[in-house]
């Protein structure tokens, strides 16, 4: 089981802030492919991966990173703090 979090317009497009998933995805990209195949709202959110960032267990990571041992994945647009 893995927690998947969505923020900002990713959260708005998918329509929820967080979900708990059963997945056998080996990498972040595999997980994205699973989600996109599920429903249109996921396909809409993940249409352009270059506009997205991913964090694994609260550390910025990349889409080709492995998911083994990861408990929390978060997807969001580039940050706009400060």
């Amino acid at each position: 089981m893995i927690d998947v979090l969505y923020f900002a317009w990713v959260r708005e497009r998918i329509g929820l802030p967080k979900e708990r998933l059963e997945t056998s995805a080996a990498t972040v990209a595999d997980l994205v492919a699973e989600l996109v195949a599920r429903e249109d709202r996921y396909a809409a959110a993940f249409a352009d991966l270059s506009a997205l960032r991913v964090a694994l267990d609260q550390n910025l990571s990349s889409f080709d990173a492995p998911l083994a041992g990861v408990r929390e994945v978060a997807f969001f647009p580039p940050m706009t703090g400060g």
Binding site: L60, P77, M79
Partner: protein
């Protein structure tokens, strides 16, 4: 070193007074305050954040600043939630024996907070609502710190 991520408003002047109080070893104190700017028609700004990762990311940035420059202290305050034009969004303060370190560390912290701390700004105006897009300029600003 202090870090606060909060919904409540804060007073940058009171924070500077507290931060600078009775420093006998620091010659230089620099602050940056980010303010909600009304470019015309902005009703309010809302900031979303990633609780947990926010604190972790900012603490890492502060550690990095402390490792790179001779700092005696630093402070980061960043708000989330709704705020009105004119309100303070966030603040950075640095104290150092010399001004070069205080300025460089404050700019470094700002550049990292802009594009590496998990906050997202949304602008609510009379004519609509929009997520603020990340700027290439902010990404470029980061790259100047790649070399020490």
């Amino acid at each position: 070193m202090a870090l606060r991520v909060q919904a409540d408003p804060f007073d940058p002047g009171a924070e500077l007074s507290a931060f600078a109080k009775g420093r006998h070893n620091a010659g230089a104190v620099v602050t940056f305050t980010g303010v909600v700017r009304d470019d015309g028609g902005l009703t309010r700004m809302e900031i979303e954040h990633y609780p947990g990762m926010t604190e972790r990311a900012i603490a890492a940035i502060m550690d990095e600043a402390t490792a790179r420059w001779s700092l005696l202290d630093c402070l980061v305050i960043h708000r989330f939630g709704p705020m009105a034009p004119g309100e303070s969004i966030m603040m950075v303060a640095t104290a150092a024996p010399h001004r070069g370190d205080a300025f460089a560390a404050a700019e470094f912290l700002m550049d990292y907070l802009k594009s590496r701390a998990p906050f997202w700004k949304k602008e609510i105006a009379a004519d609509g609502t929009a997520w603020v897009a990340a700027k290439d300029a902010d990404e470029d600003a980061l790259s100047r710190w790649d070399r020490q």
